[in-house]
Amino acid sequence: MDFTYTIYIVLIPLFAFLVNGLLGHKIKDSVSGIIATLALGVSALLSYFTAYNYFFKVGKVDGVYEKITAFNTTWINFTDKLHIDLGVLIDPISVMMLVVITTVSLLVHIYSLGYMKGDEGFTKFFSFLSLFTFSMLGLVVATNIFQMYMFWELVGVSSYLLIGYYYTKPSAVAASKKAFIVTRFADLGFLIGILFLSYTTGTFDFITINENASAFAQAAPLGFMGLSVLTWSVILIFIGGAGKSAMFPLHIWLPDAMEGPTPVSALIHAATMVVAGVYLVARLFPIFSAVDPIALEIVAITGGVSSLFAAIIACTQIDIKRVLAFSTMSQIGYMMLALGVSGMGEEGTGFMASMFHLFTHAMFKALLFLGAGSIIHAVHSNNLTDMGNLRKYMPITHITFLIACLAIAGVPPFSGFFSKDEILVAAMNHNPIYFWIEWAVAGLTAFYMFRLYFGIFWANDKKHDHAHESPFSMTLPLIILAIAATFAGFIPFNELVTSDGGLLNIHIHWDIALPSIAIGLVGIIVAYLFYKKENNLPSKMEKSFGRLYTYAYNKFYIDEVYMFVTKKVIFNKFSTPIAWFDRNVIDASMDGIATVTNYCSDKIKGMQSGQLQDYITAVVVSVVTLVFIIIYFTY
């Protein structure tokens, strides 16, 4: 089976971007929207076709899914050993990501046809969406780490463009800059990691690196602090992934990124780009598990801390998109933790669970964001306090939102239950502490999601004059995603996507599933008691938590810490002295040379009198003097 056609999955969105980007001003808004959506539709169909062929027809050789290089071309050829390739790698995780990205992107395109209708930058918006989709697809099919890095930066740029889409709003501009700078800062780690990794292994190619992972790990020279160079390289690469996936403490850009249009938040900051960090770790998983165990332990700890941290903050936020942003961070923390506790082969429950959760999370979180967009579209506000009683006005949004909440809260048989259960199993097998953290986070998740649900759709008897159900182009994606969020849990990921491509035996562990269902239900019930009807329980609760509530409401002052470090410490203690040095030493020495020259010439310019005979006198006197000197010294 020839998979060469998969290159078109990537190229078609690029084509749509070029058409809308270059000719956008000449064509009508509706036409450009349809071009982009159709292009994505073709891409999505090709992805489904690829997934069907790969998973059910030809991908399996001797019971193991092969890694196929469907397309490869040398882009820059420096030497025989050092060359940068561009290509398409087909393996279970990349095919799964192709399906996720094209599906969510297609639905977001359809949704945006309604949501962005009448906006001035309609074609610009669609061209950016296509650019993002192209970049993200190029990232997941990368055959080598350098290609991945290129597309990694491209998704960063698209994210920057789309967050700053409402560029007349200062807060949006600030948010886009923040996102770009923070992720770019983390990418520095990624780049250094790539250099270390490729220097030690002698290749950029994923297949070569992963297949010889243990050999490379044994041969790697000792680096710093008793860890090998290869261990350091994967830790540095993980920093890049943590930045992109908004892991603590590099998460500060994600809540602000909600300044972008809501479909963008659904596509980029919930379903696809932010899981690039998880994908990166999964892509290099053999090398992560071959090096010193500390590397995966760091991944797990970062994931665990992020998930707990974000879940606590999410319980206190008022802006519904920010609640969802922190929830995304928390769920990505789950995925990171699952990768961190996983091993290869039979031990690979965590890897499978992580990919499973990535898939289900993409569906229900995109649904939550699109639902939130639909609500914001109707209410024209992001604040929970402006909402309530909306179930009567928006029945479809209400039902689909409820399904997504049930899915994320881990209520069976919705999809989130299955993937979260696998993660909890993997965590329990590795270290019970991780299990108890994630178990608590599951309860918090259920609580804050249903706080949101009751706050939006019940809570009070408020009248909304303008609120109405969104148009069909917006409700259709909601319905499709709701179906996906309901049934995605039944996809047999243990057969399809595993760490080594083989079959993984799993079954539902009721000893772990029951406590997790229980805490989920507790979270829902607490939220029901607090927020179903307006009452004084929430404010009592806030009071009883006191300080903790204030800290969580202010996101634990992490932004303030960053501001303190940058403004007070870096700017004052480093930048100001350096600027002083630049102005008063470097610039001043150059100025000094000029000043001295100027001064001297000012003093001696009187010698140039303009009198011809003065000059000739000077010449004659000099010549005579020289002649006498020469005669004196010669004889």
Binding site: K605, G606, Q608, S609, G610, Q611, L612, Q613, I616, T617, V620
Partner: protein, 105 residues
């Protein structure tokens, strides 16, 4: 080789001419006179060329050729110089060298 005349005499004459020329160039204020002083210096050099040619290498003729060459150059130079002086006179109504002092700091 000229009978009865030593080379020192000729050098003495040419040196006197040269330094009279230098003195004239440095002290006279009239541009025409300065030009004449230059001619004196050039001719002092010419005398030297011819004399040394005669006394040192009588079989060669380079000294004579240089003299002729210098005379031709001097003529051309005088033409250019006088043209400049005429232009100065037109602009300044003077040919005093001290009035030509625009080219300074």
């Amino acid at each position: 080789m000229i009978e009865g005349i030593e080379i020192q005499h000729i050098i003495l004459v040419s040196s006197l001419m040269f330094f009279i020329g230098v003195y004239g160039f440095m002290t006279r204020k009239n541009l025409i006179t300065m030009l004449m002083a230059i001619e004196l210096m050039l001719n002092a050099v010419n005398i030297n060329f011819v004399a040394f040619n005669k006394y040192l290498h009588p079989e060669n003729m380079q000294g004579h050729f240089y003299s002729l060459f210098i005379i031709a150059i001097a003529a051309a130079e005088a033409a250019v110089a006088i043209a400049i002086i005429i232009n100065l006179y037109r602009n300044l109504h003077s040919i005093d060298v001290e009035d030509v002092n625009n080219m300074k700091h």
